[in-house]
């Protein structure tokens, strides 16, 4: 088990606007750092740092094409976020079921 779970890493990674913008860009297709940085109001080295964080969260992956590094969207990080929300609703609906049934029992016993 790593210090931070994958879903937390993914959420933290996408909590940053620049990283969300980078991620959105990559959703359109794989591209190199130069193309990713193009049009973004941050330095190339900042982009590299953001890419590293996205990669750690398994939201993107990198492959070498000749001398260039090509980045692309990875599914694992997205699935982690989905699972995280699923767990939230599972817990919420579990609580809700208990409360609703308790409320119904109280209503019946009052009659």
């Amino acid at each position: 088990m790593t210090a931070l779970k994958l879903d937390e890493l993914a959420l933290n990674a996408l909590g940053d606007p620049t990283r969300r913008a980078i991620f959105e860009k990559l959703e359109k297709g794989p591209m190199s750092v130069v193309h990713i940085a193009d049009g973004l109001p941050v330095t190339r080295s900042a982009v590299s740092q953001h890419l590293k964080i996205l990669k750690e969260a398994k939201l993107i992956s990198m492959k070498q094409k000749g001398t260039r590094s090509i980045y692309q969207v990875e599914q694992e990080g997205l699935l982690a976020i989905r699972k995280y929300l699923e767990r939230f609703w599972d817990e919420a609906l579990d609580n809700f079921k208990k409360l609703a049934e308790e409320a119904e029992r109280n209503k019946t016993s009052k009659k």
């Binding site: 606007p17 049009g39 109001p41 997205l78 049934e101 209503k107």
Partner: protein, 154 residues
């Protein structure tokens, strides 16, 4: 290119309660069923409040007295259906521009049995999705300003 579309999470639960009880508990006692581990705002949550009317606010109150928006009611149809605008992102931070829908249907399955179907829709927006794609044509500068504004206000 294939990416996973996180469009909808669908959950179904059968409760041994009448339709009106189920609806009332869901909308009036949100505070009691909402997992306390997930709250918006920086301070521990005291209660979660949903105003019981069309367009009603949905917000939480916190220990320091602050109120933090969660969203609002899109459809109010007691005791059959409620649709909530969920305006928090994947980090449980309020983002006014972001709306994903939580639709909850209460279907009677007997006098004291109700099927509750919950759909959390448009989840792709939590990934920075539709809003960004729509705005893409207007250039990145505008988007970055929008994001900055949102981040500053959060």
């Amino acid at each position: 290119m294939e990416t996973i579309k996180l469009t909808t999470i669908k959950k179904e639960v059968v409760v041994q309660a009448s339709q009106d009880t189920a609806f009332k508990v869901f909308t009036e006692k949100m505070d009691a069923w909402w997992p306390k581990t997930h709250h918006v705002g920086k301070c521990p949550m005291v209660e979660s409040v949903l105003e019981q009317k069309p367009g009603g606010r949905w917000y939480s109150r916190h220990e320091d007295g602050s109120e933090v928006n969660v969203g609002h009611i899109l459809t109010w149809d007691p005791f059959r259906q409620v649709i909530l605008a969920w305006q928090i992102d994947g980090n449980f931070q309020y983002v006014p521009e972001l709306i994903t829908e939580v639709a909850v249907d209460f279907i009677p399955d007997g006098p004291k049995t109700t099927r509750v179907i919950l759909e959390h829709r448009d989840l792709q927006k939590l990934m920075g999705g539709a809003k960004v794609v729509e705005s893409m044509d207007e250039g990145w500068g505008m988007i970055m300003n929008l994001y900055k504004k949102v981040t500053d206000e959060a």
